[in-house]
Amino acid sequence: MTAELGSFALILALVLSLAQACLSITGRIRGSAALTGAGEGAAAGAFLAVACAFTALMIAFVTSDFSVVNVAENSHTAKPLLYKIAGVWGNHDGSMVLWCLALTGFGAVIALGGDGLPTRLKANAVASQGVLGAMFLAYTVFASNPLLRVLHPPVEGASLNPILQDPFLAIHPPFLYSGYVGMSVVYSLAIAALIEGRIDAAWARWVRPWALASWSLLTIGITLGSFWAYYELGWGGWWAWDPVENASFMPWLAATALLHSAVVTEKRGALSAWTVFLALMAFTFSMLGAFLVRSGVLMSVHAFAVNPQRGMLLLGILGVAAGSGFGLFAWRAPSLPGGGLFAPISRETALVINNLFISAAAVTVLLGTLYPLIREALTSDMASFGGPYYTLTFVPLMAMVLLILPIGPLLAWKRADLYGALQRLWVAALLAMAAGALVLLINQPHKALAAFGVALGAWLIAGTLAELADRAHVGKAGPGEAMRRLGRLPRGAWGMTLAHIGMGVFVMGAAFETAWRVEASKVMGLGDHLTLGVYQLSLDSVGPFEGPNFAAERGMVTVTKDGQTVCVGQPARRFYPVQRQTLSKVAICPPGISDIYIVLGERRDDSGRPTWLVRAYWNRWSRLIFFGPLLMALGGVVSLSDRRLRFGLPQRATKPAVAPEPAE
């Protein structure tokens, strides 16, 4: 019964979304508050309906109702509760419901919470959100309804792929999807503003909290996903430039560029057309990601439901949403006001350069992902664009952005003193060079580019701190005065500082880990030793271990350094009987910010005594790779808590930077 109710609720949500779109549009055209109000009500109703459908699906999963096809295919009675719940979004159809839940949820938030927005802009945005909701709900209802029943229910389910049964994987989709779909609000606000023909500082201020929230969620989602791949897939790496990873990375890059260009639009009224373009681009990339992951057009280790017909439908949605968005943009953008003027050396210029490089980097990722397809279609031979391609294109582009990053915040708006900014950064530059030189000298083999990467990370951290010290007048005023000034800094400034430091931390970790990862592997019997850099690993014992839905063989590996025990790792090989699948469970010991990463291989009995192939990596500074992005997301959250950005609050009167011009 619950599944039918859920199906019904899903169809109801589709109808309500259509109503939301029609009512809001009609209300906007007729200027009727009653109709737009009804549209807002429909938006809230659509969200409640999807929430019901989602709950029904969750109930089906938790109670292992195998008469529902989706549950039978993706769940099992012996699965731990967490993975029964995560099973809801661990498959294509269920994850579409999560997508729709986020989409209608954001729509409801604008409809009910967007009191600070002008009526007509809000009605347009709610309508646009309704159209998006209707398209994705129609897709879910007609092409991938997870609540359909099966005629002959099986006694037991097929269970979730064991590789997906992991706490990090279980929680990362909700973050990722909220991030992807949060961009839909940015998109809808862009559409709404283009229809009104008015993009100004106030609009940028309404967009920024949404962009910030989506960006933070996306950052967390990507980091959790990457961490999962790092310790679950057992290949010692954390980023493979896989199409699915790229699919989540492209919206992130677009959102990063958007956050920076929106600042210019908000503070100076300039770059408004470009900001709108990025707002449209961010959600287009989100939808492109959904299409790439779900259509099976690309080869990926994460391949989700591979179904070309669904792919066509998603491509259709992408075409309609992006096509109408960019069509509207092409029509309206020429009539948008140019905005505030700025000198060649100014904070505006620094942010324009930032956007130029980030956009080029995003195009690089797009090309690397799609070029093999394009080439195959044109010349029918296949080419691969793997990691080495990105190392030669994406990495230098981003390095350029990061090199100028600390300078930007020290430049004044409109016209700045570059020499003065550089003067305030010389200590940071010296520190960074010292860090780079030190790392280069200490580590064998000497790798100059990696040392440059570490120096770049140090430059970001030191430069950002230098800017903070400059704002607080450290050195000029007494410590008491400096503390007072720091305390008065707006949350937005703290957010930026945290995010930039996080970027520096990440860059240091990524450069160091990639260059100086130490690895060793050996076929080991009990009591054998393996040398891994400065560490000694010994395989003490291997014994059986019973999990809730798997049987495992678990090793005890003692890690010692100079005779002192550092930690005991317990790498395991799990066997999941339901799927007849074996899975390596990696052991990670953390001495400080580095990881000792141990993988237990297959048992071999060919040499008279049992042996195991043990692989171990000393992933130096690898903790920084995951800690940095979390710091960035924290920066986003801190910035979001800035009173000036809080959604729906009455805005303090601001001087409009540009006079609105009537749209042609």
Binding site: E73, A158, N161, I163, L233, G234, W235, G236, G237, A240, D242, G296, M299, S300, V301, A303, A305, V306, N307, L341, A343, P344, T349, V352, I353, L356, F357, S359, A360, A361, V363, T364, L367, Y371, R375, T379, D381, M382, A383, S384, F385, G386, G387, P388, Y389, L392, T393, F394, L397, M400, S521, K522, V523, Q579, Q581, S584, V599, G601, L613, R615
Partner: protein, 149 residues
């Protein structure tokens, strides 16, 4: 269809979890380092998206052996790569060649930066527009007249 998708996913997973066997390593450390560097740039063509350095699949093992044998026989990296491309097609190279067919992918990112940079420079070189001068007394009077009329 669903079963097929599930099987594809399973096949992909088998390719995961790397295990280059230490027993295969070349005795010459310089040659072994070259071989390892090359493994990272060669695709496991039967896996979903992995280098042969990361893959446990048979195909990856065979290509690893082939590369090691060729390097031990004194062939250059370019020769080994040429052999692999002849055998498996350009698809096996994770780092695409600098060829005409790939020109767009290699150049576009830098063209964007170059073109964007030129636009910024061009805008910067344009003389700044003259500052808006305050209205003269005569203009003020006309404005007042217009406003009142």
């Amino acid at each position: 269809m669903r079963l097929w998708a599930a099987l594809a996913a399973l096949a992909a997973l088998v390719c995961l979890a790397a295990a280059p066997d230490p027993a295969d390593e070349l005795s010459n450390p310089a040659q072994e380092a070259r071989a390892r560097a090359m493994f990272e740039q060669i695709r496991c063509v039967v896996c979903q998206n992995e280098s042969i350095d990361d893959s446990e699949a048979d195909m990856a093992r065979i290509v690893r052996q082939s590369i090691r044998t060729q390097i031990a026989a004194g062939r250059s990296d370019a020769q080994v790569r040429g052999f692999l491309v002849q055998r498996y097609g350009e698809f096996i190279l994770l780092r695409p060649r600098f060829s005409l067919a790939n020109a767009a992918a290699w150049l576009v990112p830098f063209v964007i930066v170059g073109a964007g940079g030129l636009v910024i420079l061009w805008r910067a070189r344009r003389p700044p527009p003259p500052p808006v001068s305050p209205l003269t007394a005569e203009e003020e009077a006309r404005l007042a007249a217009l406003r009142d009329s």
